[in-house]
């Protein structure tokens, strides 16, 4: 008998880890069956309840959208308006917890056991976490936000550089530009990534080190104990599926609208619902191919393609735009961000309600509602990293990239707005609000606009394919009770389902209402995340270092 497990197979011994002793066996509540020729391996209540309620919700939203829409919108306004202090304070806690993990000895714990080695190279890993985390948002908001915050939203009461008739007030310009960039970076920097890092770290820790299934409920084991395998856990997992599927479906709908707006702008392809349905079908079809190619052959490859195209577009804007100002601006904006991050994150004693409630609080709720999806995906690809390495890479590097991206796109756009009263960006952001065209407006004033706009559209679409694909993986894992090797038809089902829900909502209206609902799930998940912080510290403290 020769037990031959060399380094080419199992990635080195896992070393000591503090496995939680539970009687629960992964998959014990699963139903393994087949429908016709398709095998299924699904978690008993979670799969059925999520699937059926999503169908029911979609039908109800379509049937009663006139009455349901305002309810969801009111709920969102109430949450982001009345509980803004809660979202802001919680996000600050997440950042502090992450920073503390970097500097304390807890940071030396390794995900997957003391001697685990990373599953992915830095580039592949980083590409995946970035594409899942915010790729698409940077496309949509990279131009919109810096210009909007500079000119309209007046964060911390810094006055706008335009008077009521739209004329420039020169003495306001510098402060408004600096604040516009700082406020944008604030929304795309440490805070959102700290939210993702907390969820991802908690999931990775309780799965790879503690041996619990890779689902949201496992984070709650220290709190609920064995009860977490019962209805408490079912509800947590179902909520996570809801947030992920509705988040994805609504984004898919909005993404199709943005891509269509771009196609209209560049090629004059008319903006119509039929075209958008066609785009959703196309995106879903490509996502299906990617789903069938798996994690390494699909999502990872797509993420790397995304990164390469995004880097090209970024370099183009840097060189075609005001190069010197962008490079210098990176450091200036980093400084502005550092100076303003504390005042901007203050939950109390501020007068900028429009900015704080309409933007910051909404963003925090949005990032948090997306965190089960992004966090779970990041967790799955992060085995083998030490906690310190993980937090540095998930928190600091993406934040730095966001700063550079916003500086390049926002900085170029702001320059266009300030130097040219007729600029396209000014038309789409300040004079009339057409956010989906802001990026194309900025590109249209740089050379080779037709080429770069097409690249922009392609990038929007590929980012969506990546989201749809990784989202299907995540939902499938949750609804299979934490199994990552459930039969492939299940993933195909979820991927197709996302597309269908998006089409139904697009045709019947109600995308906005459901996005409001998805964001509303941010509130319960904020509580989840706060508990997760405690669970992380407790879990890490018992790990061998």
């Amino acid at each position: 008998m020769n037990d031959d497990t060399d380094s080419q197979a199992i990635p080195a011994p896992e070393g000591a880890a503090d496995i939680i002793a539970t009687d629960y066996e992964i998959g014990q509540d699963n139903i393994t069956t087949s429908i016709g020729p398709f095998g299924l391996d699904i978690h008993n209540p979670v799969f059925a309840i999520s699937g059926l309620s999503i169908v029911a919700f979609t039908f109800l939203t379509l049937a009663f959208q006139d009455s349901v829409g305002p309810i969801f919108n009111d709920l969102r306004s109430w949450l982001t308006g009345s509980l803004d202090w809660f979202f802001l304070a919680s996000a600050n806690i997440f950042v502090l917890v992450c920073l503390a993990l970097i500097v304390t000895p807890l940071g030396s714990v390794r995900l997957g056991g003391k001697e685990a080695t990373p599953d992915y190279s830095y580039f592949g890993w980083f590409a995946m976490l970035f594409a899942a985390g915010m790729g698409i948002g940077l496309m949509f908001f990279g131009v919109l936000e810096p210009v909007y915050h500079m000119a309209i939203s007046e964060p911390l009461g810094v006055p706008a550089p335009f008077d009521e008739s739209g004329n420039l007030i020169p003495e306001n310009v510098d402060a408004a530009v600096a604040m516009g960039m700082a406020a944008t970076i604030f929304h795309w920097g440490l805070h959102p990534w700290a939210i993702y890092a907390v969820v991802a770290l908690a999931l990775a820790l309780f799965s790879f080190n503690k041996g619990l299934p890779l689902t949201m409920r496992s984070i709650f084991y220290p709190i609920f104990g064995e009860k977490v395998w019962g209805w408490v856990g079912h509800v947590i997992d179902i909520l996570a599926v809801f947030a992920t599927l509705f988040g994805l479906a609504t984004s898919l709908g909005f993404g199709a609208q943005q891509a269509n707006a771009g196609l209209d702008f560049v090629f004059g392809i008319p903006n119509s619902v039929n075209m958008q349905v066609f785009l959703i079908i196309g995106i879903t079809a490509v996502a299906l191919v990617s789903v069938l190619r798996g994690l390494d052959g699909g999502v990872k490859v797509l993420s790397e393609i995304n990164m390469a195209i995004a880097a090209l577009l970024l370099l183009f804007v840097v060189f075609a735009g005001p190069t010197g100002a962008i490079i210098g601006g990176f450091f200036t904006n980093l400084g502005e961000y550092a100076r303003e991050v504390v005042p901007l994150s203050m939950p109390f004693g501020r007068d900028d309600d429009g900015f704080r409630q309409g933007w910051t609080s909404f963003y925090w709720a949005w990032w948090i509602s997306w965190s089960p999806f992004v966090g779970m995906f990041i967790a799955r690809v992060s085995r083998g990293r030490s906690v310190r390495e993980f937090v540095v890479c998930v928190l600091l590097i993406p934040s730095a990239v966001s700063v550079f991206w916003m500086t390049a796109f926002g900085g170029t756009a702001i320059e266009q707005v300030l130097t040219n009263p007729e600029s396209a960006v000014r038309t789409y952001v300040i004079d009339s609000y057409v956010p989906e065209l802001s990026l194309f407006g900025m590109l249209s004033e740089l050379p080779m606009a037709s080429v770069t706009s097409v690249i922009g559209i392609v990038l929007v679409i590929v980012f969506f394919v990546t989201s749809s694909d990784s989202g299907s993986l995540v939902i499938d894992t949750i609804t299979a009770g934490g199994k990552v090797d459930a039969p492939v038809p299940q993933r195909v089902f979820w991927c197709t389902f996302e597309g269908l829900v998006a089409i139904a909502l697009l045709l019947g209206g109600g995308l906005g209402a459901l996005q409001a609902m998805a964001v509303s799930t941010g509130f319960p998940f904020t509580v989840v995340l706060l508990l997760a912080c405690w669970a992380i510290v407790k879990g890490l403290a018992s790990e061998p270092r």
Binding site: I26, L212, D296, D485, A486
Partner: protein, 137 residues
């Protein structure tokens, strides 16, 4: 005639493999060559093990059990896959190569319509490796 027999095993459904396991053990004794039992696991916890190391230990125990039961020479080798629902074929192909096996004995599933979309593992192995493949019904 052969150097080594590879038997892919799904430890979660080991009872379904009985016929293939006996066939492999008989062939092993006939040709006086070792059998290497190959298992594929995930980095995330599964119903079988909390981590890949624990899985490898269970697989080794399975190999020892087979050796005692059938009296042949048995080895084991565990592989981790990021996404075994998709990468199983590739991992098994790699295993054939790395274990230098030239005969694969594996249990088959009941053929169905989905084989048109997702080819059977045995079929893929036979197509893409140099080893002989015996699929046991």
């Amino acid at each position: 005639m052969y150097n080594r027999i590879m038997v892919p095993v799904d430890l979660a459904h080991a009872n379904r493999l009985e016929k293939a396991l006996i066939t492999a053990a008989d062939l092993s004794k006939h040709y006086k060559i070792p059998v290497v039992y190959v298992g594929v696991t995930t980095a995330t916890p599964s119903s079988l093990a909390h981590n890949p190391k624990e899985y490898a230990e269970k697989l080794a125990e399975f190999g020892r059990d087979q050796a005692t039961r059938h009296g042949h020479q048995a080895e084991t080798k565990a592989y981790t896959s990021h996404d075994p629902s998709i990468d199983l074929d590739d991992t098994l192909l790699k295993a054939v190569h790395e274990t230098r096996s030239d005969l694969v004995v594996m249990a088959s599933h009941i053929p169905n319509v989905t084989d048109w979309i997702w080819p059977s593992n045995g079929g893929t192995l036979a197509t893409h490796s140099d080893a002989s493949v015996l699929v046991v019904r």
